[in-house]
Amino acid sequence: MNNEQFNNRNVNDSYYLVDIKDYPTDGWGKFKRVVKRTFRGELFVGLWVVLREMIKFDIHTIQYPLEKMPIGPRYRAVHEMKRLWESDTERCIGCGLCEKICISDCIRMDTKIDEYSRKEVSQYTINLGRCIFCGYCAEVCPELAITHGGEYENASEQREHFILYEDMLTPIDTMKAGKQLEFEGFGAITPHEDERMKKTPLAY
């Protein structure tokens, strides 16, 4: 094995080294350089470039509060808790995986057995002062209950306004109107998940 593929980094053959002459040392050489630079018209190239951009008027400004960039589905902003489409109840089953995996130890949950003998989340908070938005909680959640939302404009008088379970949960009227946005990002199932499903091999 030789090192050719490491030395030749697939640089395009049309690349070439710029021919930079040595700096002049004597007075005559410096004078010649000055004259050359003076009449080469490089200054006008710069003028033309900015004027061209002004005429093209290809403005890239996003007037932020009025216009917003679309953010990617993998963006990890403040957490959201989703509801089940079938019954409008909370998806969270209180398994505690998110609390367990949270590397900055900011999720706290408390569960109890409700009157139907099902596990119910009685307390759920995320300390956003500690959260590093790593996305592990969303990734580990077996029910896609906790996800990261796209809401990055979370200015408030205090951070506690975002951390309670009720604040993160999809409001029931939004749910009833069918407006709950399904999470496509970190930890969500991929679009072709059905095709990748395999039957559990039972014929040993």
């Binding site: 000055v34 003028l47 900015v50 004027l51 002004m54 890239h60 400004t61 007037q63």
Partner: protein, 329 residues
């Protein structure tokens, strides 16, 4: 001195002061907008339609800000320095004919405050005195960056004043007068009579020196944000800083008037078209001040002095000598 002349002069002074103070403000708007467009941004957009009222917002901010005199500054000099900059800029405007003479309600108006026969000398002198604004402001500020700026200012101003004076000497020899009105009449015959054709070198030299005069971008080293904060303006706040800004922009406007008047035919034969022509030329030169700021890098102080003393000044001297020989024979 009769009363009518006195009243007319006072009115002209007030009009020029008001118009160019306002223009200085609007100039900042133009500068921000044009720079923004050249950098593919939008510039001020939020105050008023297309950000037009940004000028008013800036004005209110400057006027209502606390006027801070820091502890260690030399207070009297610190206070007077911005006034020098603004005042000399406007005083220089006294000898500039902004428009051809026109008749208003049967009264002939000369849009020049004082048609003195040493107009150019007076304008250059006044703009030279304007040096004391940055110089005194920087030295009185008790701030290292301000002091650096003052030192740079002195070096720069000495360098370019020589070029300004020498480059303008050759056209003065041609015209035989120092009055801008005479300059205009010399070139009144049309585009072919413009001094720029007979004195192209003087035109370029004066134009380059104008950038140093106003401290605009290729020679913006006395208040270079990325090197010495705001230079002499670092310690200033509120309206005192605003006076520096007004002086700078008024200077840009006045020089944008002076360059066409000297070299590009001014208002020509004095018709409405000629007057509009002068305004158009003024607008181009003002635009060019902003244009270069978007396009060109700054030079170092030593580069500027090298340029002024070793390149521009010899060229100006050669230009004067050649002009003299041609006129003699």
């Amino acid at each position: 001195m009769d009363t009518a002349y006195l009243i007319e002069t006072v009115i002209k002074v007030v009009v020029i002061l008001l118009v160019f103070s306002a223009l200085a403000g609007i100039g900042t708007y133009f500068e921000r907008k044009i720079l923004a467009f050249m950098q593919r941004r939008l510039g001020p957009m939020n105050v008023g339609p297309y950000g037009l009222l940004q000028v008013a917002a800036d004005g209110i901010k400057l006027f209502t800000k606390e006027d801070i005199i820091p502890t260690n500054v030399v207070a009297p000099i610190f206070k007077i320095a911005p006034v020098i900059t603004a005042a000399t800029a406007f005083m220089a405007a006294a000898a500039i004919p902004f428009l051809p003479q026109f008749t208003l309600f049967g009264y002939t108006v000369h849009p020049i405050v004082a048609d003195i026969n040493i107009g150019i000398l007076y304008i250059l002198g006044m703009m030279g005195v304007g040096l004391y604004g940055p110089l005194l402001g920087g030295m009185a500020s008790a701030n290292k960056f301000s002091l650096l700026s003052a030192a740079r200012g002195a070096a720069v101003f000495i360098s370019y004043e020589v070029v300004t004076g020498l480059s303008i000497l050759a056209p003065i020899m041609l015209v035989g007068s120092l009055s801008l009105v005479d300059f205009n009449e010399y070139q009144a015959g049309g585009i072919g009579n413009w001094i720029v054709w007979s004195q192209p070198l003087a035109f370029v030299l004066f134009w380059i020196a104008a950038f140093a005069e106003t401290g605009r971008t290729p020679f913006h080293l006395i208040a270079n944000d990325h090197e010495i904060i705001d230079g002499f303006g670092t310690e200033y706040s509120g309206m005192r800083w605003g006076l520096f800004a007004i002086g700078e922009y008024a200077n840009m406007f006045f020089l944008s008037f002076v360059i066409p008047l000297l070299f590009l035919g001014g208002y020509g034969d004095g018709t409405l078209l000629g007057a509009l022509g002068l305004l158009a030329k003024m607008a181009f030169f003002f635009f060019f001040f902003l244009w270069t700021r978007a396009a060109w890098p700054d030079v170092r102080p030593d580069q500027l002095m090298w340029l002024c003393w070793k390149v521009l000044m010899p060229l100006a001297v050669i230009n004067v000598v050649i002009t003299g020989f041609i006129m003699m024979f």
